[in-house]
Symmetry: C2
Subunit: 367 residues, 2 copies
């Protein structure tokens, strides 16, 4: 049976990075009979230019029908002043919401070859391997009211609403505990229960879910501000971190930057398993943005996009060996001193996007 | 005329740290005729134990009447399960709200003697001097509705509301621009305008305020998640950062931890100048918490509390020379290798809370 991939390269360096994944897909079809069928659409600024929307209805339908979506990046100065409703990010937010991708998995790992690229002391990040599980379809991102009201008298009021229901917290906590069991079996839940009522509920529901079904996993609670501090102070203390949409946005970016491997970090956004087929809707995207300043120059680092495809192999198609091999290929290429400009180091060989993709594919073929 | 200080040592290490400030106050009264008159109250867990509230009405009245409030720290495991309304933090939040302390100034500086204590590479933090201006009386901390609703069916809903009005953003932006003029003249404003309507309004109002009254100051806008990353990547790129209550909570803690000087960092929370007298209500507190694990052992670092008093001298009483001298005294004592346990380094002399306070006072006397 066919494996349906829907590709949304997006803006900036997205298309260049996606090009390197295409080569790997082609190779897997040819040499491994992987049966990937790909289709492609527009998202973000490029969709706005073509359709006046951050994603067209037709492309939304294709995303909904696919086994997995591969997403590049969106945004750039060109679209800085388009209306709020059709800004590039709206395409990504709509995909997350309509596909119900509530579980965002953001590994923050430090590639050994890159430990010295971190702004942290190498001994604090060498071997770092954190998995941040961010709730992705709730909280202040989607709660209503979300509006700007004109109060008259020259005054406006901006309002956003953070909302979490029990079931939303329960299901993301479940993902965190399940993931922890495949790792070091430790979960740290972060919120601001000392200030936010949604934080109080978050804390309660995580605690109850733990007690009811996952008491074998070690659970710790931390205030989100203290969590940010601890990430900087001693990141290796963490295994799995589970947190809400907005804190997850902030904390996963800080964690990503700590590793010194920002251009390398992938993410997976997963829905709930379908009751009948067990399949989850899924979208895979690099953590980095569209980097408009270097777009089109052939110098972008495609590793995060390729590593996102490795997550796709693992989580959407259960191709675990292939996923492991692809990740190993990336690590090997880095060990050989092949680097794009963003991760260049003394004595390494600097290459462009295409050469990096070629090197990883060549390595993958040998595994 | 008398200078009225209201002391709220609070819980944990708060009272020990405050003890060292008391010595400096006594010395300034004696030797400099400073005319400080002090009164003292309870806040946090200790107020709960005494009055069943996180701060009593009588102490609130005293805080409102004082020229400045010196605040230690609140909280500890003993009060982890008291009702939400009377949790220790409620005392601090009420003080901020009722005194209308909308401007929270959080310097993130790296004491040269401590650069190596940072988890960042020393060259990234040596000489670091950022001022974070956090809005402190609005946003998701105080917006309504803020509640947990029982939906029946075992489901609850936690709600918090982020609200910002034009005037709130205008006045905090004004503080940031004014402060920038006394420093490197650069402001970076952080929000999530790509996701939050309050962020859209924040961005607009900061831009307009800049254009109308502060166009001599350099202004930059950054998304708050990218801001967190940039703080880790290259903290010295910033001069003044202005942001909302919740982002300010997260970002100032990350920034504080970057400096490696967490136990050393003070903060000032200021109200608007009174129309007649020009006086501002003000509260000064260390950035660190109550550290219940080391409370009562005589080993806590009193420097953040003493540095908070230096801010009080500067901002509440315009005693600029005295503030400078007190800060210099702290730096000199560190340069001499005198350290509390939290900042201990090879070859330094480890001292307790009281000896550290004595050393700083002795140094202050020589300046
Ligand atoms: C692009 C933006 C809407 C998005 C977010 O805030 O979630 C991004 O920062 C991310 O973390 O995926
Ligand atoms: C104690 C707590 C309520 C407080 C806050 O969240 O503002 C603290 O973290 C701070 O930053 O001053």
């Amino acid at each position: 049976t066919a494996r349906n991939l829907f590709l949304l390269p997006g803006d900036g360096i997205g298309p260049e990075a996606m090009g390197e994944v295409r080569k790997i897909i082609a190779y897997m079809n040819e040499a491994m009979n992987a049966g990937f069928v790909t289709d492609e659409g527009l998202v973000g600024g490029s969709a706005y230019d073509a359709h006046g929307a951050a994603i067209s209805e037709a492309d939304m339908q294709k995303a909904l029908a696919a086994d997995a979506v591969l997403f590049g990046a969106v945004g750039g100065p060109k679209w800085d002043s388009v209306p709020y409703e059709v800004r590039p990010e709206a395409g990504l937010l709509r995909l997350r919401k309509d596909l119900q991708l509530f579980a965002n998995l953001r590994p923050a790992i430090c590639y050994p070859a890159l430990a010295s690229a971190s702004s942290l002391k190498p001994e604090l990040v060498e071997g770092l391997d954190i998995l941040i599980i961010r709730e992705l379809t709730g909280g202040v991102y989607f709660g209503e009211p979300k509006e700007i009201i004109d109060l008259g008298n020259g005054q406006k009021r901006g309002i956003d609403t953070q909302v979490y229901d029990t079931y939303e917290i329960e299901r993301i906590a479940g993902v965190a505990f399940e993931m922890a069991r495949t790792r070091q079996n430790r979960v740290c839940s972060m919120e601001k229960r000392n200030v936010m009522k949604s934080g109080v509920l978050w804390n309660q529901v995580v605690t109850e879910t733990h007690k009811a079904k996952y008491s074998d996993v070690q659970l710790e609670h931390m205030l989100a501000d203290a969590g940010g501090m601890q990430l900087v102070r001693q990141p290796k203390q963490f295994d799995v971190i589970v947190t809400d949409n907005l804190f997850g946005d902030m904390l996963s970016d800080v964690a990503a930057m700590l590793t010194g491997s920002l251009g390398m970090l992938p993410s997976a956004s997963l829905g709930a398993p379908d009751g009948k087929t067990g399949k989850r809707k899924a979208l895979y995207e690099p953590v980095h943005g569209s980097a408009p300043d270097i777009a089109g120059k052939g110098i972008a680092n495609p590793i995060a996009m390729i590593a996102s495809f490795a997550m796709c192999l693992r989580y959407s198609f259960n191709l675990v060996k292939e996923a492991d091999d692809l990740e190993k290929a990336i690590a090997n290429v880095l060990d050989k001193g092949i680097r794009t400009g963003d991760i260049m180091a003394e004595g390494a060989r600097q290459v462009g996007t295409v050469e990096m993709g070629d090197a990883i594919l060549a390595e993958f073929k040998t595994l």
